[in-house]
């Protein structure tokens, strides 16, 4: 029996439904103090003076830490991919600002007190004298020569710029039989795990050991960051990951609060904890996405892209947010799944006086996909070619993989046209058009839209302490034949531990229930990079496979001696090693393990090394970091994708959009656990739907964030989700991993943005509706409908007449 391919609920879920979660905020330490942070109310200001006298008088206050001490005693946080490396600005900051603040919510002082209320009260009593400075909250304005500069030491706000070229874009545009130009803008939004961040540090001066319980996705990199900032050896730091209540990229190392808690515990020699408040999360944890695309696309009469000139402006906010690199990834992925002979991509990553970026599922790839989808819909409309057909005509053909994209990204494998055609079958467009027509008779507006997301996974960047395409796993078969797997990858709820157990059970031929997986503790698990970029099953699972294979060979060797057959004639299943073709000749794995552990000098086990433990590191294929031989570097080993369709109903009187159905044909290579993959897709689609219709971080012109609760920053609830999310899998295995697995954790999130926008346009075939700014909240949709209607009224020739392409759709 094979466990791989089986649908199985997560290994920890029984414990979690029992209410026995061990989230970091649930961990108790005797005499733990609470940390609270005083945060600035200004978007840009010079700190003149900080008066802590009243705060110190609050009973229970143990320490007040200011930026000066921290800057003196610790090293700054730096971005794992520093723009300086590519000729941009150097990003290097302390967790508490010393003399200048750049965004509302930036911490200026930390208070440690014996209880939470005292810590908060003391924060309120810290008096900071500020001199306010001019603010810039728009990335385009921030690039103007006279714009206020976000970081006083900088000359301008350009964090990073780069350009990728292929062919001759000017010639391509000139040659094209038609062109479309315009812009597309995604709003600023954020990942919003329901578990707030939480850290608890406890320094033991006698052992010289700092233990940090952390709601982190990456325990080993977190340990590395702490070690570097605090100047403690890595062997004096243990990071223990609690259960993580959702990460989505946000719970990455380098958070100010994690450093502060660790520093304060070390200094005070007692436990210090911090649990994030939701308002703090919105203000300061880290935002993502806000990107402007300006494009000129040239195409042939039959809708093939000849040239694309695209300028990407990422508003990365305060560069104290270290995940600016998401804007780099956006540019790196363009033009995604499409073959464009002449292409130029220009990126500007720009600082503004808003919260900086933190990683968020999609990590920049989603915005690239969305831009391409919207551009292709414009090409379809301009040429009169069906929107789905336009994608088919521009896809990279399946026989051209591996395919080197404009940036040098090497796309490993895929069959995009087959996925898109299967999607068309699932959607049944003829049936939908009939449904749409019938609804129209009742005055209801239904629309159908398409998207094609490409979500490269397993990121590996040169000279990067975090983003590396390898990981480690230890597999241990005990004397009783039970199996323990320790991994360097971790799970923030995505369930990779379950998939890894399935892989190991199959490789060894043991029962699934006999495998236990341990993750997230730097003292017990092999070094690894943790969870990001959907790498855990694909890379961590491959390391576990290799370790398990090594042990299986050893078990077979000893079993062969016991059964007096050659190892090649053995198979293992269900806890037994059997002779092929003679099912009655077998030996239980537990017996073989026992021979190795309890009879090391016996005939069967004498020729093998005692013990049954293997640690292997797996380096993923299809990553190229040698620009001298490759020309450009290739960071992503696997390129999963999903063809998506949304059916929406729009109320033109209010602009309210309801997603009625959502379809996807998804390819993440070999599927180890379809239940977990589908669960991931559902979650990704929900987050994408939130980004399409509801979620928006709104700043006023003074840099004040107006959305700081779940009341005004609205996540989709069960009611907003369509009654039907229908997904199917197509399997195009990759050669980059031994089982053909690709990443699946970020899939689903990109498609809804463009599919829903496309579907809303489709709901009004008589109007020239172009939705190129997100999110599509009712007000924006209503205004767009009004504007298109007025435009139609002014131009009677256009009224009622289908715009080019509308009839063909």
């Amino acid at each position: 029996m094979s466990y791989m391919g089986q649908a199985r609920p997560g290994l920890h879920n029984r414990r979690l439904v029992a209410g026995r979660g061990r989230f970091t905020a649930d961990v108790e330490r005797p005499n733990a103090c609470w940390m609270a942070l005083a945060r600035t109310p200004h978007a840009s200001a010079r700190i003149l003076e900080i008066d802590t006298s009243e705060a110190e008088a609050v009973p229970g206050v143990v320490k007040i830490l200011l930026g000066e001490e921290l800057a003196r005693e610790t090293r700054p946080l730096t971005a794992s991919y520093n723009p300086e490396r590519g000729g941009g600005k150097r990003l290097s900051f302390h967790a508490l600002s010393v003399d200048h603040v750049h965004f509302v919510g930036q911490p200026v002082a930390a208070v440690v007190a014996t209880d939470r209320h005292a810590a908060h009260l003391a924060c309120e009593r810290i008096v900071v004298d500020y001199e306010q400075e001019p603010v810039v909250t728009d990335a385009v304005e921030a690039l103007e020569p006279d714009a206020p500069v976000v970081i006083p030491e900088w000359e301008d706000n350009l964090v990073y710029r780069t350009e990728y070229n292929q062919g001759d874009v000017a010639a391509g545009l000139a040659e094209a039989s038609g062109t479309v130009s315009g812009s597309f803008k995604t709003q600023r939004y954020l990942s919003s795990p329901i578990e707030p961040r939480s850290y608890l540090a406890d320094f033991d001066p006698y052992e010289e050991m700092l233990t940090v319980w952390s709601s982190t996705q990456m325990p080993h990199p977190a340990r590395g960051t702490l070690s570097r900032c605090l100047g403690l050896p890595e062997t004096s730091i243990r990071v223990v990951q609690g259960d993580v209540g959702g990460g989505f990229g946000t719970k990455s190392p380098g958070s100010s609060e994690e450093i502060l808690v660790a520093y304060l515990s070390h200094q005070l020699q007692r436990p210090v904890r911090w649990v994030e408040e939701r308002q703090e999360y919105f203000l300061s944890c880290g935002h993502a996405r806000e990107t402007l695309f300006e494009f000129d696309a040239g195409f042939t009469d039959d809708g093939r892209l000849l040239a694309l000139d695209i300028r990407v402006t990422g508003d990365v906010g305060s560069p104290t947010g270290l995940a600016w690199v998401q804007s780099y990834v956006t540019a790196y992925c363009l033009p995604c799944a499409y073959k464009v002979p002449n292409c130029r991509v220009r990126l500007h990553s720009v600082a503004t006086n808003k919260c900086g970026w933190a990683g968020y599922r999609g990590f920049g790839k989603e915005t690239a996909t969305q831009a391409m989808d919207r551009i292709l819909d414009r090409v379809a409309d301009a040429t009169g070619i069906d929107r789905l057909e336009v994608r088919l005509r521009n896809f990279i053909p399946p026989d051209e993989f591996p395919y080197s994209q404009v940036s040098g990204a090497m796309l490993d494998s895929g069959d995009y046209p087959t996925a898109m055609r299967r999607l068309a079958e699932m959607v049944d467009r003829d049936a939908f058009r009939a449904e749409q027509e019938a609804a129209r008779q009742e005055g209801r507006h239904l629309g159908l839209g398409f998207a094609f997301e490409l979500t490269p996974e397993g990121c590996s960047m040169p000279h990067n302490p975090v983003l590396q395409g390898y990981d480690g796993a230890t597999v241990r078969v005990g004397p009783s034949g039970r199996v323990t797997v320790l991994t360097g990858v971790t799970s923030p709820g995505s369930g990779n531990e379950t998939g890894i157990a399935q892989i190991v059970a199959d490789a060894l031929g043991v029962r699934f229930d006999d495998v236990r997986v341990i993750q997230g503790d730097t003292d017990t698990c092999p070094y690894g990079l943790g969870n990001f970029s959907s790498r855990s099953l694909m890379i961590g699972g491959s390391a576990a496979l290799e370790a398990a294979n090594e042990l299986r060979d050893k078990l077979f060797r000893v079993a062969g001696n016991a059964l007096e057959v050659a190892e090649e004639d053995l198979v293992s299943e269900d806890g037994e090693i059997r002779v092929k073709g003679s099912p009655d000749r077998s030996i239980p794995i537990r017996k073989v393990a026992s021979m190795i552990y309890t009879n090391a000098f016996g005939r069967e086990a004498l020729e093998v090394e005692p013990g049954l433990e293997s640690t292997r590191y797996f380096r993923v294929g299809n990553v190229y970091h040698q620009p001298e031989t490759q020309g450009r570097f290739s960071a992503y080993p696997t390129w999963p994708y999903m063809a998506c369709a949304a059916v929406v109903e729009v109320d033109p009187t209010t602009g309210l959009v309801k997603v009625v159905r959502y379809y996807g044909v998804h390819d993440c290579g070999t599927v180890i656990n379809p239940m977990l993959v589908e669960g991931n897709l559902h979650g990704g689609i929900a987050q994408g739907l939130g980004g399409a219709l509801y979620e928006d971080l709104v700043y006023d012109e003074n840099g004040q964030l107006l959305t700081t609760t779940f009341m005004d920053y609205t996540l989709p609830t069960a009611v907003e989700m369509p009654a039907e999310v229908i997904t199917e899998h197509q399997v195009t295995p990759t050669e980059a991993t031994p089982l053909g697995t690709k990443g699946a954790g970020e899939s689903g999130i990109a498609g809804p943005i463009s599919a829903i926008a496309s579907a809303i346009e489709d709901a009004f075939p008589d109007l020239d509706l172009e939705l190129m700014e997100m999110p599509l909240q009712p007000e924006r949709v209503w205004q767009a409908i009004q504007a298109a209607q007025n435009q139609g009224a002014e131009d009677p020739g256009a009224q009622g007449a289908a715009r080019p392409g509308a009839s063909a759709r």
Binding site: N13, R14, G21, L715
Partner: protein, 180 residues
């Protein structure tokens, strides 16, 4: 200094008599004083629903109540759902089997809300409105991981199971499996 109030409360069947600070939240009382950390705090703004507990048969947000307000009441938290021998309640089993959770942080609050819903809105199995009613019933609980589809499936399955059990066990003194 903070004043204290006397509090008598039954939580998961056990009776407690405590002195609590007058401004202590019910959530903090449960988590910190009683060590019942299964109830989670996702926002402390009354929006996410992860802190939901059962108070005298109604689901409530324990971040919006003071401990002092529940004097004399009976409270059930996620820890009170399974039987003493550890056997899971049908709602827990359904969430587990239907993959109605990923990170599990929203799950305790989501299950309590679902139990309240199942108890108050009995809908016939197979009724076309069933899913919509479930969706509306859990719309006050945010989940960022699952997209809700499997949660709806879990609640539907638990409702069917519990109504079946309620019928089978009619007259039985142990009502634990049918409703907390």
């Amino acid at each position: 200094m903070t004043s204290k109030v006397a509090l008598r409360v039954t939580v998961n069947g056990s009776k407690y008599e405590r002195e609590v600070p007058s401004r202590q939240l019910l959530a903090d009382f449960l988590r910190e004083d009683l060590g019942l950390t299964g109830t989670q705090l996702g926002c402390e703004q009354g929006v996410c629903g992860s802190c939901t507990v059962m108070l005298d048969g109604d689901s409530v947000r324990s971040c919006l109540l003071l401990a002092a307000q529940v004097d004399g009441a009976e409270i059930v938290t996620v820890e009170g759902l399974a039987q003493e021998d550890g056997a899971l309640h049908p709602i827990q089993r359904a969430f587990w089997e239907h993959h109605g959770l990923q990170c599990g942080f929203c799950t305790p609050g989501m299950m309590i809300t679902a139990l309240d819903l199942i108890a108050k809105l009995p809908l016939a199995e197979g009724s076309p409105e069933l899913d919509q009613k479930i969706r509306e019933g859990i719309a006050g609980n945010l989940c960022r991981c699952t997209g809700y589809q499997n949660i709806v499936a879990a609640v539907r399955a638990a409702a069917a199971k519990m109504s079946g059990q309620a019928e089978a066990e009619a007259g039985s003194t142990d009502s634990r499996e049918s409703a907390p």
